[in-house]
Subunit: 207 residues, 2 copies
């Protein structure tokens, strides 16, 4: 549970970093301010998760160690422009969120709800999906470029999920033991991929 809460906390904080960087790519000041506002909600998530971790006796350094696990995805997916940023928000990050949501389903209350509440705040992904859908509908060149980018993002996010499994064996154990399925990890990846494909087609990108 500490591993999971720590990962979700760091995921929120890195999302804030990403959104603050994306804000600089926003095409107008209104969207720039909106991104900062949405980032503020994620900072509040981070604070709540850390408060719970402290309640459970975790040390701040343990929380910080989770950052290292998530940083490679973060650093390998820096967007070059606003549309790449939007695609990462609604395609790449969604894979990570799915992983955390699946694991949360296996832990007990109240921590399950703490994690699900944090993962619930995804206005950026919704806004991003709407904006991509509208843009690619009339621009096949953009659609093709973003489809390629989105496939790369999903690959990086799935690689991160695998790294988290290796770096945090307790989470792997949760999946196989709590589900009672020795192939639990493999079926998790199948579900992740299916959800990803659905999201791609929902916004008009090609898998």
């Amino acid at each position: 549970v500490l591993d999971l809460l720590g990962l979700v906390a760091c995921n929120e904080l890195l999302a804030v970093d990403r959104m603050a960087a994306d804000a600089r790519l926003a095409p107008d000041l209104n969207r720039r301010a909106l991104l900062y506002e949405m980032a503020a909600a994620r900072v509040a998530n981070y604070r709540r998760l850390v408060a719970r971790l402290v309640e459970l006796g975790a040390e701040p350094e343990e929380v910080a160690s989770c950052l290292d696990l998530l940083r490679p995805y973060h650093e390998s997916t820096a967007p070059k422009d606003w549309f790449e940023a939007l695609t990462r928000a609604c395609i790449g990050d969604a894979v990570t969120d799915d992983v955390l949501r699946e694991i949360a389903g296996l832990v007990e209350e109240p921590d399950r709800q703490v994690v699900l509440d944090a993962l619930h705040e995804r206005r950026y992904a919704e806004l991003a999906a709407a904006e991509i859908r509208a843009a690619v509908a009339t621009d096949p060149v953009l659609a093709s470029r973003l489809s390629m980018w989105a496939r790369r993002l999903a690959g990086e996010a799935l690689a991160q999920a695998a790294r988290v499994g290796t770096g945090r064996p307790a989470l792997n154990w949760l999946i196989t033991e709590r589900t009672g399925d020795p192939a639990g990890v493999r079926s998790l990846f199948t579900r992740l991929t299916a959800a990803h494909v659905d999201r791609m087609s929902a916004v008009g990108l090609n898998t």
Copy 2:
């Protein structure tokens, strides 16, 4: 008044950019989250100022044009580390705030209060001042390095104040007409410098 509100709005938005960048330099996750929280308060300031501008009939492009006036200071003062970021927050940015506060004193209500409310949220400067004071008290090498950096920041901020006067003649006019002092601009610069010197010695830096 439109010029002033636009400048204050852009100053708040650029402060958010700076604080988000500074957050990445923070030495621990707690301070990083704190910076993001303080940035969120400044986004709220920005939104309130833009709402007032729209009420007064301003166009979004006019607001954006104020960014260009403030950007040179912003870009020429990128901090290399956490202490440089703190120094900019409590020394350099304070000069800009003083300029805006002085001009706000010359406009009428309710806009005067709108501006003063925005300038009131300066927790970052307070936190930065306390942290610098503590750090330089025991580290003369740091004190000397930050003193030099702070002098450069003040120079850039005063240069920006002069650029704003040239770029927005209406603001210059406000100062000379409303104060009834033809040398109003010069005495403003005298007050700015005096306030800056006080702030430097309050945190233990040498002018």
